[in-house]
Symmetry: C2
Subunit: 306 residues, 2 copies
């Protein structure tokens, strides 16, 4: 099954304690698509300017990402500039130039309208709603958002959240969205308002999934070198959705495996700037790291009924 | 097998966003002993003043903690006053009155000298060394420490660390001890200097254990109500060591189970002030939460050799 992703394609300038890069390929939809492309076909809806070179188009095509929905308009591509300190869990935004992204009106091409798996990356919730209305009967919808939309467009955002299967946000966003400092309370409140499942990303501390009846806790893969956390969350979502779309197994067991695949993908992305690590990544490496995650988290249960 | 613990018995005054208590029973050895007492016999070496009432002595006795090594001297018992904000991972110390603890010279009673399991709670590393020299041939030794000793007595501290099987410290302490921001690098450096295993406590994010050849990641049990994190680390160590002493199984599998039992014990402690939650705790509740931890972390591995 293929996935439809709607989000941003951008150029990033990033500084971390370990180096810096200028105007490299980035954006939520880019990280998501590249990550998901290891598992399934991806259809992309996004907008770029006329500075988006054929080198980048070729890269996305090389990952078998369908670019029918990638619109090119006059102007500059979205540009983000940020910095990370030694606490790599939190980015400091230095500059945001929306450029052509400011007028982004996502149009889902006819050929994508039957999408079974849909991810609404972090864009204006009003646009997320418009996309939802353009997709006929998706089997599974996930969405991301950010602090800016939580405070500026809560009503539109909640209309989205009520219609999705998975909200995939970070810890701070879960707290802000719920008004609860405690994550378990935050999850309860968010799920009570109609969202089906909540996945809370906690950076180097891993992920918590709340389904309403169960909790799943997955650690992040412990890395010795973290170069650049940019895109880790979108890469996680890409691996997560990609694996689900590949297997079609939406049981809790399948979903938990998808979370581990998502975590594995994110752990590779942060090992280098931009999408560099994903460019050389093989499926064998992905599976090997999945096995490491299993070995790293295993412990024996207690005997039944004792 | 019984455990010997050397550490502090104290009175704590604690303020959290959810309430406050004055002069309640606390101290590293108290939390450790009470937690371990659910699994095995505990021998305690500590000092208290003449303000340490029979009510507290009776409580410790009720947990079958041997108090031969609890010395009572003229003066006041160690008193700690601290505050937690909504970020419950970090305590702010308001007052520390060492009182009789300032002159604590731990003497291991003859009847404890054959101890098989020894925990050196957070005290002056020079005293930890003296204790080590008084215990004949322990099967397993663990120790804790804190930022103050890492910066003021690094040489004595390293002499301790080289002789213990498990260093049990928090994330910040692991970073300070190694001079490395990255935890995997920090662990590598600490283990390279001679310590056998490192357990890094990460508060609400759980625990990482580094053995030199393997890593084990355990989440914290997600709680809806965290009243007071005081003593969580010592309670963790108590459950960890208590389970090991109970089973005698020092294989990696046994050690991982012990980490889960330690995490479970800590999750109960933080549900109320002081040792209140442990006072009403049953072994059945401990096992039930262990099973929850298993259910919460389980995911399917990949088929072999695919």
């Amino acid at each position: 099954m293929s996935i439809l992703v709607v989000g941003s394609v951008a150029f990033d300038s990033v500084e971390t304690p370990f180096g810096r890069v200028e105007d490299v390929l980035g954006g939520s939809a880019t990280y998501f698509s590249t990550s998901a492309s290891f598992f399934t076909d991806v259809n992309l809806v996004a907008v770029v300017g006329n500075d988006f070179s054929s080198e980048h188009v070729d890269f996305l095509r090389s990952r078998s990402i369908d670019l029918t929905g990638l619109t090119r308009v006059p102007g500059q591509t979205f540009h983000w500039k940020g910095r990370y300190g030694y606490d790599l869990n939190e980015a400091q935004t230095l500059e945001t130039h929306l450029n052509v992204f400011a007028d982004f009106k996502p149009v889902v091409p006819e050929s994508y309208a039957d999408a079974d798996y849909l991810i609404l990356a972090n864009i204006d919730p009003e646009l997320q709603l418009e996309v939802l209305n353009q997709v006929k009967s998706p089997r599974l919808v996930a969405c991301d958002t950010m602090n800016y939309w939580i405070s500026s467009k809560p009503d539109a955002l909640w209309k989205v959240l009520e219609r999705v299967d998975f909200i995939i946000i970070n810890e701070g966003e879960a707290r802000q969205l719920s008004g609860e400092a405690n994550l378990v309370k935050a999850a309860r409140k968010i799920l009570a308002r109609g969202a089906k499942n909540l996945i809370v990303k906690r950076g180097e501390y891993g992920v918590l999934m709340f389904t309403g009846t169960t909790v799943f806790a997955a650690p992040a893969y412990p890395l010795e070198e973290v170069f650049d956390p940019t895109g880790a969350g979108d890469t996680f979502a890409g691996g997560f959705m990609g694996y689900l779309a590949n297997t079609g197994n939406l049981s809790e067991e399948g979903i938990r495996q998808a979370i581990i695949f998502g975590s594995v993908m994110a752990s590779f992305t942060v090992e280098d700037f931009s999408l560099n690590r994903l460019k050389s990544l093989t499926y064998g490496e992905i599976e090997a790291r999945y096995r490491s995650m299993k070995a790293m988290t295993y412990f024996q249960g207690l005997p039944e009924g004792v």
